[in-house]
Point group: C2
Chain length 340, copies 2
C-alpha cells in the first residue's frame, strides 16, 4: 500500500475524482458534471478520460494508481449489476463496473456510495480509531453501511446495511420500496420536507408557511434553520425525524453491539437538533445502549479516543461524520488501496 | 480438533452435560436438576463433579476433553460477568466462568445460551451448509445470535444479537428491559399467553377461556394447539405473534443480508402457524427479502442445500431449527472444540 490511488464519487449531479496518497493527503481533485441527461456513456467516457490522465500523471515505477468508484444504488457484488440507482436514471440493471473497466482497460473496485463514505470515515474521519462501526447517511434518502474488522460487511448479495429500509413504524408511511414505515420515510431530507408539509396542512404553521412561500421553497435545510431559531412547528418536525432516527440506531445497537455509529449525509448538519431526541430514544429503546452509554454522549464529534480502553472499546459512541461530502471520495480511494 | 469435548447446557430448570465427538456423535448425556433454590454453589459443584467424571472417562493420550458451557443471560465477554440471567435467580453479576474454572482446575469456554444454540444449528442442524446465519430463539423470552464466518459475532461487549429487544412497535407494550414494543413482548411464549388473555378480556373467546379454566391453565402450547384446531381467537393471537416476528426478521434481513435465519426455541414448534404471517411480513417489510426470496419459502426445514449455488448462497432462507432442545448442548461442545 505504498502507491497513491484514485477515488471516484459518481453522484447524480457531480462526478468527482481525487488522487489520494496512502497517508490520506489529497494530491489533486477534479469536479465534473455527471450530466445525466446526456446518458451514461457520456458520463463514463468523461470519467475514464480524466482517470487515465490522472493515472499517467501520478503513476510511479511500481504501477498505475488503482481506481475505486462509489456509485449511488445497490450493487450486486457477485455480478457487478447496479440496482435501484434512483439518482442515476437509465443506469439501473447496468454493468457499471464492466463498462468503466472497458473504458480504462483495467480492473476498478466498485462500491455503493454509503459504503465508500463509511470507509472514508473509518480511514480518516470520525471512526478512525475503531475497527467496527455502522454509518447512517441521511440525504435525499437514507443509506447505511456496516464496517466489521475494518472492511465493509456486504452480506450475501451486497445489500447489507440498508438502514433506510428498516421498519421503524409498522403500518406507517408507504415507502418507494413498497414497504411501510421505513426509516427513510422519517429521517431523510425528503421526509423532513414531507413532515413539514403535513404540519402545515394540519394547522397554522406560519414559519413553515413563510419558508414554503419564499423563492427557495421548502427544504430540509430551511426547516432545520427555522427549528434552530426556535420555530415550534419546525422543531416538532425535526424532533420527530430525530426520534425515528433514534429508534433505527437503537435497533442496530441492540443487535450489533458496535462501538460506534456515525451519522453522515446532508441532514447530519442538523445534528445539534437531532442529537437530543436520538439519545433520548437510544436510552429508552435499547438495553444495550443503556448498558454501554458513555458518561456524556457527544453532541459534537469527539472522535473515538475516549472510547478506547486497554481492552478495546467498551462504550457505544454515536457521533456526526467528520469528512462531510468528501467521505465517499476518500473512501473510494481507500477501497482501491485496500483491494489493489 | 480430533478430541471429543464436553458441552454443558446450564438452564434455569435442567443442567445437562454431554460428551460429543468431533463428528457430532453423542457419546454420553447426563441430565441433572439445576435446583436453583439450593443456590449457585450447589449447581456448580454438581456440574463440576459430573464434568470431571466424564473428562476422566473420555480423556485420551492427547488431553482431557475441553468444556463449553451455555448459560442463560448476557455474558460480558471481557470480564466473564453474567448479567440479566432472569432464569437463574441469584446468579446476576456473578463470575460464573471463573467459579466453574475453580471447580475444574482448568479453563472452560463460556457462551450465552442463544449463542451456543446457534453454534449447534450451524454445526449439525438447519444451517450446517452456510457460514453466516442468525438465529431467533423463541422461548420464555426471545433470544438471538449472529454467526458470521462460522463464529459468533459478539459485538463490543458480548451483547450482540439481542433480537428479543429490537423495537417492533414503537410506543408498544412495556418490556422488562425498560423499553417498549420489544419483539419479546409479542413473539415469546410469555407474550402469546398475554395476548391470549388480552383477547379474552376484549370479548368472548370461548376456546381460550376453556383452556384457561383447565387444570393445565393457559400456555403458549395450548394457544397454538387451539389455533391449529381452527379456533379463531387463538389463530388471531398466533397470527399477531407471527406478524411481529416477521417484522423483526425483516429488519435483520434488510440490515445484515444473511443467507439464513433459523427460528428455534419451544415456540418454534408452532412454525406451521407462524410461517404464513412471517413470510407475508418479510415480503412486505423487506426490500432485501423481496429481492432474494427463494421460489418457495420452506414451511418445513429444507436444510440450506437449495440455497447454495456455485458462487455461494443467493437466496434468503428462513427455516425452523432442527436440533430442538439439544442445539445448545451440541453447540457448547462445538464451542469447546473450536476454542480449545
Amino acid at each position: 500500500m505504498t502507491n497513491s490511488s484514485i477515488g471516484v464519487d459518481l453522484g447524480g449531479t457531480n462526478l468527482r475524482i481525487a488522487v489520494v496518497d496512502p497517508g490520506g493527503r489529497l494530491l489533486e481533485k477534479v469536479s465534473l458534471d455527471t450530466d445525466v441527461a446526456r446518458g451514461k456513456d457520456y458520463a463514463i467516457g468523461r470519467m475514464c478520460e480524466e482517470v487515465r490522465r490522472l493515472q499517467q500523471k501520478y503513476q510511479n515505477a511500481a504501477a498505475l494508481p488503482a481506481v475505486g468508484v462509489g456509485v449511488p444504488g445497490i450493487i450486486d457484488m457477485r455480478t457487478g449489476l447496479l440496482r435501484g440507482a434512483e439518482n442515476l436514471p437509465g443506469w439501473t440493471d447496468f454493468h457499471v463496473g464492466e463498462e468503466i473497466e472497458k473504458g480504462l482497460g483495467r480492473p476498478v473496485f466498485l462500491e455503493n456510495d454509503a459504503n465508500v463514505a463509511a470507509l472514508g470515515e473509518k480511514w480518516l474521519g470520525a471512526s478512525r480509531e475503531v475497527d467496527d462501526m455502522a454509518m447512517f447517511t441521511l440525504g435525499t434518502g437514507v443509506g447505511g453501511a456496516i464496517v466489521l474488522g475494518g472492511r465493509i460487511w456486504h452480506g450475501m448479495t451486497g445489500m447489507a446495511g440498508e438502514f433506510g429500509h428498516m421498519t421503524v413504524e409498522p403500518g406507517g408511511v408507504l415507502c418507494t420500496c413498497g414497504s411501510q414505515g421505513c426509516l427513510e420515510m422519517y429521517a431523510s431530507a425528503t421526509a423532513i420536507v414531507r413532515l413539514a408539509r403535513e404540519a402545515m396542512a394540519a394547522g397554522p404553521a406560519p414559519g413553515l408557511a413563510r419558508a414554503a412561500g419564499s423563492d427557495q421553497g421548502l427544504s430540509a435545510k430551511a426547516v432545520c434553520d427555522l427549528a434552530r431559531n426556535g420555530d415550534e412547528d419546525a422543531s416538532a418536525v425535526v424532533g420527530r425525524a430525530g426520534r425515528y432516527l433514534g429508534i433505527g440506531i437503537a435497533n442496530m445497537v441492540t443487535t450489533l453491539n458496535l462501538p460506534m455509529y456515525v451519522i453522515g449525509g446532508g441532514v447530519s448538519r442538523a445534528w445539534d437538533l437531532l442529537a437530543p431526541p436520538v439519545f433520548e430514544q437510544l436510552q429508552h429503546y435499547s438495553l444495550v445502549y443503556a448498558a454501554t452509554k458513555p458518561a456524556s454522549p457527544g453532541i459534537k464529534s469527539t472522535g473515538a479516543g475516549a472510547n478506547i480502553e486497554s481492552r478495546g472499546p467498551t462504550k457505544t459512541i454515536v457521533v456526526p461524520a467528520e469528512l462531510g461530502g468528501d467521505a465517499g471520495l476518500y473512501g473510494a480511494a481507500r477501497l482501491a488501496m485496500m483491494s489493489a
